[in-house]
Amino acid sequence: MQNANTGRAEHLITVNGEQRRVSLRPADTLLYTLRDELGLTGAKPGCENGDCGACTVLVNDVPMKSCLLLTMEFVDQDPPRSVETVEGLDGAEVQRQFLQHWAFQCGYCTSGFLMLVEGLRRQRPEANRDELVDWLRSNICRCTSYAELIHAVEGVLERERGAAPASDHPTPVPPTR
């Protein structure tokens, strides 16, 4: 058994492959540890209620909403549970496809969508349209860039499967939400 009493204490956490020392309260969510303690502001606070996905990170390759996680679930673990944020992507294919397809407007939702789609690429590169739409429903884009987002995801998956992306001028599709 492991326990942490109320109040601040130092713990070790692994983010983007790097072990970091953080000071935290057991009641801190991963979202705030990333942003306020580690300066990784890519994960955004939106609803903080699990609805919008702006805070999405990868945990062992699985997209998860960092506003719903306690940082304590990730500290002092051997082997460490890997947390990846958008800062860890660093020019990945998913970022190139988002740029190419204009899959954002204001950009507030973008890092959350990038992590979601990176998780999809790693886990389900064979996903069809229905499945990728089901994944995309986890996040909200208030600027409603949904059609462009779907094209970007299709571009990512086509690359992953080794096919040339179908077209830079895709046909319109219905919004996901």
């Binding site: 109040g7 969510t29 996680l69 306690l70």
Partner: protein
């Protein structure tokens, strides 16, 4: 940001979790078990829940069990809905679970949290309520296994500090013909107007459980009985709908009358799917 402080405990056995709960409760700490955290974190953030301690139960091996043994399929309470969908061993459960919340949040929400939590609807309970499922718990008075339906009437009756460890479903039940549908109003990902789960029993009779009508899931022997008999699916659904609760949830998703209409429609759909028109 969660405004209050609490202590955090990661436990490795069910007995240890229960002992820690007891000790913290005796110390006036108001502990809560912590699984997927989707309810604990969101309600604590709003100050609607103010635990002095959270006891993480996700690392308890028997609460992560998944597989067949002794003619039953066993599923640990700390597994996520995504785990159960991925496993796919019980199609009815997978179909209900894949409409709860959204793809990412289903990697958080646990089966035990959905059954034992206080947030409305608890859709994952519907299949277990219909099946001859058992629920295994550990509490201050020890281990207990009981028929799920004997402990669940829309709300799971747990003693303070009693932990749900696992559920089990007879192999035969998982093969029975089943049907599930979730009707939402504002969005595809949403709380239900009405969710129905239906199972055709060995004797051929259709049993149903519904969520969305009341804050708790709903079942009624009288409603099930009214589904039997002559007439089209629509006729029988009409007769059965008379046994829906007298008062239904009324909110921005739908009026009580609209929910009643949708419930009758999905009852007819379930009968058609399982018995023909």
């Amino acid at each position: 940001m969660i405004p209050m402080d609490f202590s955090y405990w990661r436990t490795e056995t069910a007995e240890e979790a229960v002992a820690v709960y007891q000790q913290l409760a005796d110390d006036g700490q108001h502990p809560v078990y912590y699984a997927g955290g989707t309810e604990v974190v969101t309600r604590a953030r709003l100050g609607a829940l103010t635990p002095g301690a959270v006891i993480d139960v996700k690392a308890i091996p028997e609460a992560r069990r998944l597989g067949r043994d002794g003619g039953c399929w066993h599923v640990g309470a700390a597994l996520s809905l995504a785990d159960l969908i991925h496993d796919g061993a019980w199609p009815l459960l997978a179909r209900v679970a894949e409409r709860v919340a959204d793809h990412t949040t289903r990697s958080h929400i646990t089966l035990g949290g959905n059954l034992a939590g206080t947030i409305a609807y608890r859709e994952a309970a519907l299949p277990f309520w219909l099946a001859d499922a058992d629920v295994a718990t550990v509490g201050p008075h020890g281990r207990r296994t009981a028929r799920f339906r004997d402990r669940f009437d829309g709300t799971l009756a747990l003693d303070p500090g009693e932990l749900v460890v696992s559920l089990s479903v007879p192999d035969g039940v998982r093969q029975q013909p089943s049907y599930a549908q979730k009707a939402t109003r504002l969005d595809y990902v949403d709380y239900p107007l009405v969710t129905i789960a239906a199972l055709r029993g060995a004797e051929g009779q259709v049993h149903v459980a519904l969520s969305g009508l009341k804050p708790e899931p709903f079942r009624s022997a009288a409603l099930d009985a009214a589904l039997i008999g002559s007439g089209s699916s629509a006729d029988r659904a009409g007769r059965a709908a008379r046994h829906l609760p007298a008062t239904l949830v009324e909110d921005l998703h739908g009026t009580a009358d609209y929910r009643r209409f949708v419930a009758q429609t999905v009852l007819a759909d379930a009968l058609t799917a399982l018995e023909g028109p």
